[in-house]
């Protein structure tokens, strides 16, 4: 029976965490804004140096972008516009940045979500195999694959997968569009992000397998497979959830590389292109959104762990 005061403290903890998240997102966006300004100096300078604008036109652009205003005023404008979902417009095409991002979003979202699913599945398989078989050959192999997953750059894993797929399918550009367009990239992204998950499950499982409650389950006559997959796995799952939130960050930088390797349209390639072109509003908008998204997933994971893990609820 949960008492009323108990419920209130839990609610306070949730609200506190939400407010913290808002504060972090605000600070991160602020930092991104000032880091870019600190690094770039004059955003219009790249247009000038490329001969895309005459000095008079550059002045005009500066005025239209509000770059002649003092920095703090620009920052306030950026922040209020951001709250209204307005990220400014591209320096080159003058199209709305939020619209450009919205167009590319679905492609990246599909890739990231399927990559995340692949990462969790692969991490679970590798981690459980490594813990169950321990020092035997199959356990060592699973642990080695998990170590390789963290060390092989996404770019190289992607290229290798293309090479292998190319050999298996006899030549590039064969009819297997779906394979090249989604399954292969998602698997590469999942492989690259599965290492830490596998590791956490491996250590968590090994630890709970040594705990007395597993011995007790054994004494009650519960079968080995059930003991492992239900009793021992359950307490090692909450850390995996917060880890998955951390992975969301890695997933985004991973999609940048994966989209480049597989020539897939999306936010990652948009970011690379905007950096190479010097199109600041797009780069800043993408990083700001990534920071906000990352904070949200973090807060969400924290709350989810609170719901799932009764040990944490009692401690609150």
């Amino acid at each position: 029976m949960v008492s009323k005061s108990h419920r209130r403290t839990a609610l306070l903890a949730v609200i506190r965490r939400l407010l913290e998240g808002v504060g972090t997102a605000w600070a991160a966006v602020t930092l991104a804004f000032f880091a870019l300004r600190f690094a770039s100096g004059d955003p219009v300078a790249s247009l000038l140096s490329q001969g895309l604008a005459s000095p008079e036109q550059a002045d005009e652009i500066r005025i239209s972008l509000g770059l002649n205003a003092p920095l703090w005023l620009q920052y306030l404008r950026f922040l209020t516009n951001l709250l209204h979902g307005d990220l400014g417009s591209s320096l080159y095409t003058h199209r709305s940045v939020s619209q450009i991002i919205l167009e590319q979003f679905p492609s990246t979202a599909v890739l990231a979500v399927s990559g995340l699913i692949a990462a969790i599945l692969l991490g679970l398989i590798l981690g459980i195999t490594a813990a169950w078989f321990g020092k035997r050959a199959s356990g060592m192999i699973a642990a080695t694959i998990a170590a390789l997953a963290t060390s092989i750059p996404v770019a190289f894993a992607g290229i290798l997968s293309l090479l292998i797929a190319g050999c298996l399918l006899q030549g590039p550009g064969s009819a297997n569009g779906m394979l090249i367009r989604l399954i292969l990239p998602a698997m590469v992204l999942g492989f690259a992000s599965s290492g830490p998950i596998a590791r956490v499950i491996h250590s968590g499982l090994s630890e709970s397998l040594r705990s007395p409650f597993i011995l007790a389950a054994r004494a009650r006559g519960i079968r080995r497979g059930f003991r492992l997959l239900w009793h021992a796995l359950k307490p090692s799952l909450p850390p995996v959830i917060s880890l998955t939130a951390l992975e969301a960050a890695f997933l985004f930088t991973g999609t940048v590389v994966t989209e480049t390797v597989f020539s897939r349209p999306g936010l990652g390639r948009l970011l690379v292109k905007s950096i190479l072109d010097g199109d600041f509003p797009i780069a800043l908008g993408l990083v700001a959104l990534a920071a906000i998204f990352y904070t949200i997933s973090h807060v969400f994971a924290d709350l989810l762990t609170l719901v799932i893990d009764p040990r944490l609820r009692r401690a609150e």
Binding site: G171, P172, F250, F252, T253, V272, G278, A290
Partner: protein, 261 residues
């Protein structure tokens, strides 16, 4: 001290890479920037690793590439460690308020993934090789501050720090003469794992073409340009890819097991 088989392999591998970087002009006479023969030649007696899409000796590019690929993350790690340690040491010794401020800023910055922060800085500085050093170095600082701060936090609890204060040492003296030397081994281990991150980050950024000029022999950039000829000349991507992966694997392993003995 036990020195395992895998650890020996890791040290040998890293020594070989460093040797390759140092002795590049002696083991190959070819210039990494000028074409020597036809393009996309297969590995043979001469040139040993064939040629790339512009007919440049690929072995020479790989060897000279070791110089850039190792020195860029090394420089940025140095930058990160210097600035990060200064901030975390200040946070721990200079009082509650400064600790609060530094930790808050570092935590906010951590909401932007390090590599993304580096990309944002490259966007600002302009895509060049020199700016990648700066961007990866600065992008790693928030994470380094948080981890090194917890190292100093552990040292601060030690009895000899109280003793130093009791003997009348100033905060600066305690920080520089007592905390820093005692944290050195742990900081070194942290810097090693950070180097693996910086190495991975650098090759990622150069792979994405953010070094501006693709003619530089650097493993990440080579991985990118070799990709166009994946079927005719797979060694152009496999060689730099394996070199990058094994180096990260070795540094990771050594960094993680350094604390054990």
């Amino acid at each position: 001290m036990r020195f395992g088989f895998i650890k020996t392999l890791c040290v040998l591998w890293l020594a070989a890479i460093v040797l390759l970087a140092l002795s590049a002009p002696f083991i190959t006479s070819a210039d990494p920037y000028t074409p020597v023969s036809d393009m996309l030649q297969s590995p043979s007696y001469h040139p040993p690793l064939g040629t790339d899409a512009l007919g440049r000796d690929f072995f020479a590019r790989t060897a000279y590439g070791a110089r850039l690929s190792l020195s860029i993350p090394l420089l940025s790690t140095l930058l990160t460690v210097l600035i990060g340690t200064t901030f975390s040491l200040t946070a721990i010794t200079a009082g509650r308020l400064s600790d609060r401020i530094i930790l808050t800023i570092a935590n906010a910055a951590l909401a932007i993934p390090g590599l993304l922060l580096a990309m944002l800085l490259v966007a600002g500085f302009g895509p060049r090789l020199s700016t990648i050093v700066l961007a990866v170095g600065l992008g790693g600082i928030p994470g380094f501050i948080r981890l090194s701060r917890s190292i100093f936090l552990g040292i601060k609890e030690m009895g000899y720090i109280d003793a130093a204060y009791a003997l009348g040492a100033s905060r600066t003296r305690v920080a520089i003469a007592h905390m820093l030397p005692n944290a050195a081994p742990q900081l070194f281990s942290l810097a090693t794992t950070h180097f693996a991150w910086a190495f991975m980050g650098t090759t990622t950024l150069t792979f994405l073409g953010l070094s501006g000029d693709p003619s530089f022999p650097e493993w990440g950039a080579m991985l990118n340009s070799g990709r166009m000829h994946l079927i005719q000349a797979p060694w152009l991507t496999i060689v730099p890819g394996i070199l990058i992966s094994l180096t990260i694997l070795a540094v990771h392993y050594l960094g993680e097991n350094y604390a054990d003995n």
